[in-house]
Amino acid sequence: MTEVSVTRSVVLAALAGVAVLIAASPAAAARNEVAEQHVLTHANAALDALADRSASHSAREAAFRTSITQMADVPRIATFVLGRYGVRVRSDPALHALWLQAFEDYTLAVYQDQLNRYAGSQVRITGSLERVQGRDVVVRSEMTSPVSGRILTLQWRVLQGANGWRVTDVSFVADGNEIWFAQQQQSEFALQLDRTNGDINALISGVRARTADLRQRALASAR
């Protein structure tokens, strides 16, 4: 009797162990804690910078810029969003520098405009998925709107590059839908470039104009 009972216990324990291993192993293999930590540190630093009411508007902007440029690979994104027109910028260093500066200013202004609504909240990491081991990770996170209390689900595409892990895209998820921001920008810029026969300078002008509007808006809301 005893022998049968021991055997049954062992079998049950073994099955439970196998089940736990099966359940746990894919998730454990998929996560990348270094990428998660990169997002957590810099995203919260950016939100803290926006929430710091003791600092002047320009000081807040400077701190926000520092956090974002440490978090994201802005030059890589700047080339990506030009899509098939990127080759024109890569072959012209002067134009490349102009585009990079205009895009960085625009991106920071857009992020600041959007994230201002979440200033004071904190990003919480909820998981990550390693698409390519050690190189390409999607980090999943949440943050809560301090105004409405709603929870925003964000995904961060984090790629390994020359400067370590850097965010290259961010998406928000609602009701199963997701929009990746850099991809959306690429689509919008491509249509604009198509309409102007690929005139990068015209795109730079448009981006600068929009950046100026956004800065005015940020200044007005800071008053």
Partner: protein, 302 residues
């Protein structure tokens, strides 16, 4: 306008007005959504659409937006939430019909259960107790049903006061309206109910979109392009009925061919069909079930 709210659901997230937590990360196949979304949107009437968008923009700034701001000003947030719940509950027959037409028995069951709970415990749909019981809301429409059946989206259309759509989804909206029993219901011989429902529904939707549309206008270098691609991406997600996917993300470092080299200093390669110049977009509509192989078998979260 209904399409407009669907289009902007994702930007609502940024403005923090309406969000739901979603499913966990999955690795379902996803089309190369963004870079191709620009190419995938079949917009042969772009010139006309842009003019219609301009008309819509003026009407919106002078009529719809002020009305929506007034509505927001005079109604507290819980009241607006109840109005949305009520209107959503009235739409349950349309959702149910499309659940069934798509062969989604489990979702159809959820729609029936939600309608039953919210119409009774939820006081004629003013509240949504079904959600707290685990019955998450979802939307379905005949445009999605047609997509599931393999119908291509057809040309992109921008309809003033209605928003971005395409031939398939526009037709779907007409069918949904025709199918909706409340479209034909009259009370004591007059049809004021349908009219009132339409006006309040439009106001409620535009109010919900105040922040997202404001954001698009502020941040976009080309709001027409933004609405167009958001509509395409949003509809992809709705048709997929699915959780977020990560498999189809683009390669950030892949060199992309400049496939319009002759267009830099020359006339447009192909005259667009609207006579405005500029290279034409791909001339063949891309079937959505080609774009997204998981359309018919998506997860149960809309």
């Amino acid at each position: 306008m209904r399409t407009l709210i669907l289009t902007s659901v994702v930007t609502i997230a940024w403005s923090g007005t309406a969000l739901a937590q979603s499913e966990s990360i999955t690795a379902d196949p996803l089309p190369q959504s963004a870079e191709t979304s620009h190419q995938a949107v079949y917009d042969p009437f772009e010139g006309v659409n842009r003019r219609l968008y301009a008309v819509h923009d003026v009407l919106d700034r002078w009529i719809l937006e002020p009305a929506a701001r007034g509505y927001r000003f005079v109604t507290p947030r819980p009241v607006r939430g109840s109005v949305r719940n009520f209107l959503s509950n009235l739409n349950a027959p349309v959702v149910l019909a499309n659940d069934l037409l798509q062969g989604q028995a489990r979702r159809a069951g959820a729609t029936v259960a939600r309608f039953g709970v919210n119409s009774t415990v939820g006081v004629l749909g003013l509240f949504d107790p079904a959600q707290s019981m685990g019955l998450e809301p979802h939307t379905e429409d005949f445009g999605q049903t047609l997509a599931v059946w393999g119908v291509s989206e057809g040309p992109y259309l921008f309809v003033p006061l209605f928003g971005p759509t395409n031939l398939r989804d526009g037709f779907g909206n007409v069918v949904d309206a025709a199918f909706d029993p409340l479209s034909w219901t009259t009370f004591e011989g007059d049809d004021e109910f349908a009219l009132t429902r339409g006006v309040i529904g439009g106001l409620a939707m535009r109010e919900e979109l105040l922040d997202p549309i404001d954001s698009i206008r502020a941040t976009s270098i080309d709001p027409y392009a933004r609405f167009r691609s958001l509509n395409a991406l949003n509809r992809e997600g709705e048709i997929r009925n699915g959780a977020a996917a990560t498999d189809g993300l683009p390669d950030f470092d892949a060199p992309q061919e400049d496939d319009f080299p002759a267009a830099i200093d020359a006339e447009p390669l192909v005259p667009s069909t609207d006579g405005e110049g500029g290279p034409a977009l791909p001339s063949t509509p891309i079937a959505l079930n080609t774009l997204n192989p998981s359309i018919a078998g998506g997860a149960a979260h809309d």
